[in-house]
């Protein structure tokens, strides 16, 4: 059984509308030293690691489903 953590983030060049609003809110709360906020997804997968292609498999899941290639990038780490 493997635990895989996937991090999906908005491409750096795209406007992160949520991040911008959250940054404004943090500023209002007095945290004016926060100079950037980007909000992405954090996905935990539990996978039965029966074959040896775990790495390729996860990569494919990300490309096909977990991330939107038009707007997002991803990375992941595998804990066995």
């Amino acid at each position: 059984m493997a635990k895989v953590n996937v991090y999906v983030t908005l491409k750096p060049s795209l406007l992160d509308v949520q991040g911008k609003v959250v940054q404004g809110a943090l500023e209002n709360l007095g945290y004016s030293n926060v100079t950037g906020v980007r909000i992405g997804k954090y996905i935990e997968l539990e996978i039965e690691d029966s074959n040896n292609r775990l790495e390729q498999d996860v990569d494919e899941m990300c490309r096909k489903l977990l991330a939107n290639p038009n707007t997002e990038t991803y990375r992941f780490e595998i804990e066995r």
Binding site: K11, S13, L14, L15, V17, V21, G24, N68, N70, T71
Partner: protein, 777 residues
């Protein structure tokens, strides 16, 4: 051309020819390049080249469609007169006007459906509130490939999601629209959004940069590298640059847009804004040159004053960026801070980026460097136009001459009806519109699901009705008739609610216009639409053209979508499409006698379409029908005959009957024909009906032909006499079909029972069809 510069600034202009390898990929022809050189009296700078390329494109400059669009009367008057405004305004009395416009976001949605559709909503809304109108409704006209293909389900799901995300957040109800599923849209989905705004006439704002010396302010979001033509980047100058410099998908921020709506309407009230223009395609380039050209002024701006989101942007990128939620406002000199304060209250930027001049030039500075200087009118109004060749497509003869008599008569009509009701194109669209907030602003008094949406106008007794319509298959079989039917069907849907047509906006979706066959379709469709709109006294006040909706494998059906506004004088008289009470009589109001035999001919003056001599009730009348499409997989024959004179009289009859409160329901016959219209009346009214048809034709034609100019109404038997008077007076036909009642729908043709279905059964098929498809069932 004289170059005027600020004292102390450096003039950057170009005397070196730009090679064709650079301008051709920007879709600029050699001739067009020569024309630019002629206008400028020198070779353009790279920034200038980009500005001309985008402003002279079909998308902004309408270089191919403009000559044809002159067929629309208001358009012609505007072009020859004071110029086109963002959206036309229709007078509804009481000092009130309705602004409306439709726009496509087909290509962005095909690449990135969620953001593409979302930014489509945002863009069209800005067209409306920059006129000083408060947006009160959106409608969406959508076309996808069949839902059996996973990619189409993905596109459909995310387009709806994007529209919902954006429209719900900005608080503008999405009250109507249409969705068709046809193979030809698999490679090219169509996403057309219509926005409607309400204003007092005296509050109208213009997209004009009047008054030299006034300040030019950029309002709203920061500018990034969104939507800059990717092709340009791939081939020029920036090749060594990193991936991140490529054009970006545009991301919509409905929250900012909502604030922009409120702030703009509030700022306009100050009277300090002399002109305002939204930023859509070609961003700052388009808004600066159009507002200057319209006012006969010029403008000097400094790109370094533009608030940026990304570092290292070039003047070219800043001028061409299509970042969302931005506007250009022309503000009275000395009052910039007051205007900025309104925007600031709503958390928005408003910065001065330049000023209005009187030299007729758009001068673009990068700090001290003059990087572009071009006559505003040359960019905005003098795009070269072309008369493209037309040629009747070859396929037409083949599909029109298809022998429909070879099609076997079905053995089980229940099954056919059920299949039709379960076809996603015919089925209920509640899977779609329940994802939209269609009630916010509390004006929606006929909700989506009836023939047209109706919104009351507060402070008056009036209501407006809104609808979009277009059957692409009809247009494929005959673009002239198809476009006329789109207009007629829109007006018919309005009539069913009790509204008379007031005006039209359109979105013309076609393939590659440089192909003579496609341009023929385009031209014929516009002719049909223009003729019909004139006949219905519903002028085309605004619109949009979307070409190149094709892939190497296929082109879309010609799809000229009509968005129509209607007016109801007394909101309490509005009418809906579901049957109401047991015992009511069901009547067909039509331009044709229900059992008219093959002697039917056109006595009226032919309205420029090719007419055929057959009766509307024969096998030929199934041409182009949903029946042939769903049951037999065919898109053949000729579209139904339209006689718009009869059509109009049918509308008048129903309108008069609604006005006299004779009718309990009215529902037009469209996709799926009479049988489907009656079944929908039952489902919506949650009640059965028994129907007896007489026909001199096969039952399939009697039940499923899409003969035009027909409306199914229900009324108490006691009102039949009064109804008859109206019918006689307007010289249309009415046929008593049967009665409302029970919990089944029973239909006989020439006394032979052909349909007997439970309402609860057809209801679940009709309501659940799209959901089941989406679950992959």
């Amino acid at each position: 051309m004289v170059v005027t510069t600020e004292p102390g600034s450096r003039t950057v202009y170009n005397t070196v020819p730009i090679p064709p390898e650079v301008y051709r990929p920007m879709s600029m022809s050699d001739d067009e390049y020569r024309k630019v050189v002629e206008v400028l009296g020198r070779h353009p700078t790279f920034t200038e080249l980009g500005m001309y390329a985008v402003m002279w494109s079909e998308h902004c400059g309408y270089k191919y469609s403009r000559p044809v669009l002159r067929l629309f009367k208001k358009y012609r008057e505007a072009i020859d007169g004071t110029g086109l405004e963002n959206a036309g305004i229709i007078d509804i009395g009481d000092g009130l006007g309705i602004a409306m416009k439709m726009e496509s976001h087909n290509h962005p949605s095909a690449v990135e459906p969620f953001q593409g559709a979302a930014t489509g909503v945002g863009g069209i809304l800005r067209d409306i509130f920059t006129m000083g109108a408060r947006p009160i409704a959106c409608l969406d006209s959508l076309r996808f490939g069949k839902l059996d293909i996973a990619r189409n389900r993905y596109l459909f799901e995310h387009v709806i999601g994007g529209i919902a995300f954006y429209g719900n957040c900005v608080g503008v109800p999405t009250v109507g629209g249409e969705v068709y599923f046809e193979d030809c849209y698999t490679g090219n989905c169509l996403v057309n959004v219509m926005a409607v705004g309400l204003m007092r006439h005296e509050d109208v704002a213009y997209a004009r940069a009047s008054g030299p010396g006034n300040s030019v302010m950029l309002v709203g979001s920061r500018t990034g590298r969104d939507g800059i033509h990717g092709a340009t980047f791939a081939s020029v100058e920036l090749t060594e640059e990193s991936e991140s410099r490529k054009s970006n998908v545009q991301v919509g921020d409905p929250f900012t847009e909502k604030c922009l709506i409120e702030a703009t309407l509030e700022a306009l009230k100050t009277g300090l804004i002399v002109g305002i223009q939204d930023m859509g395609a070609a961003g700052i380039t388009c808004s600066t040159c159009e507002t200057a050209a319209k006012a006969g002024t010029g403008m000097r701006i400094d790109v370094r004053k533009v608030p940026l989101r990304e570092t290292g942007m070039t003047p070219y990128e800043i001028m061409l960026s299509e970042s969302q939620e931005r506007m250009l406002a022309i503000v009275r000199k000395g009052h910039e801070d007051e205007v900025a304060a309104v925007f600031k209250k709503w958390g928005l930027n408003a910065v001065v980026i330049g000023e209005v001049t009187n030299d007729g030039l758009v001068s673009v500075y990068d700090g001290d460097d003059l990087v572009a200087q071009v006559p505003a009118k040359s960019l905005a109004e003098e795009a070269p136009t072309y008369e493209l060749e037309t040629e009747e497509p070859e396929y037409l003869a083949r599909v029109r001459d298809y022998d429909l008599s070879s099609i076997p008569e079905p053995s089980d009509y229940n099954e056919v009806l059920i299949k039709l009701l379960g076809a996603p194109t015919v089925a209920s669209k509640e899977w779609v519109y329940q994802q939209y907030d269609h009630m916010v602003q509390t004006n929606t008094v006929i909700l989506p699901g009836s023939d047209a949406a109706v919104l009351r106008i507060r402070g008056t007794k009036k209501a407006i009705a809104l609808v979009t319509d277009c059957n692409g298959r009809y247009c494929y079989l005959d673009p002239y008739v198809g476009a006329q039917i789109a207009v007629a069907e829109a007006a018919r849907n309005l009539a069913c609610t009790g509204a008379r047509p007031m005006g039209v906006t359109d979105c013309l979706n076609f393939g590659n216009p440089e192909k003579p066959e496609v341009f023929w379709q385009f031209k014929r469709a516009v002719e049909g639409m223009a003729d019909a709109c004139e006949f219905f006294e519903a002028p085309v006040v605004s619109g949009n053209v979307s070409f190149y909706n094709e892939t190497p494998e296929m082109a879309v059906y010609p799809t000229p979508v009509v968005g129509m506004l209607g007016l109801i004088d007394d909101v309490d008289k509005r009418c809906t499409s579901g049957f109401k009470d047991e015992g009511d009589v069901i009547v067909l109001v039509s331009g044709w006698r229900a059992n008219e035999a093959s002697h039917q001919t056109y006595s009226d003056k032919p309205r420029r379409s090719e007419h055929r001599e057959e009766s509307p009730c024969d096998i030929e009348s199934l041409g182009g029908s949903e029946y042939l499409n769903t049951i037999h997989g065919l898109a053949v024959g000729r579209p139904p005959i339209l006689d718009i004179d009869r059509e109009k009289r049918v509308h008048q009859a129903v309108l008069r009957a609604i006005d006299r409160r004779l009718l309990k329901s009215a529902h037009d016959c469209s996709d799926g024909g009479l049988a489907v219209a009656i079944a929908e009346g039952c489902i919506l009214g949650n009640v059965g009906a028994s129907i007896s048809l007489l026909a001199n034709c096969a039952p399939s034609a009697a039940l499923f032909s899409e003969t035009q100019s027909r409306i199914v109404v229900s009324l108490p038997a006691a009102k039949l006499g009064e109804m008859m008077e109206i019918i006689d007076d307007l010289q249309v036909e009415m046929t008593v079909l049967g009665k409302v009642g029970g919990d089944t729908l029973q239909v006989s043709v020439n006394d032979v029972p052909v349909i007997n279905v439970k309402i609860s059964e057809i209801e679940s098929i009709w309501r659940g069809a799209i959901a089941r498809k989406m679950e992959g069932a």
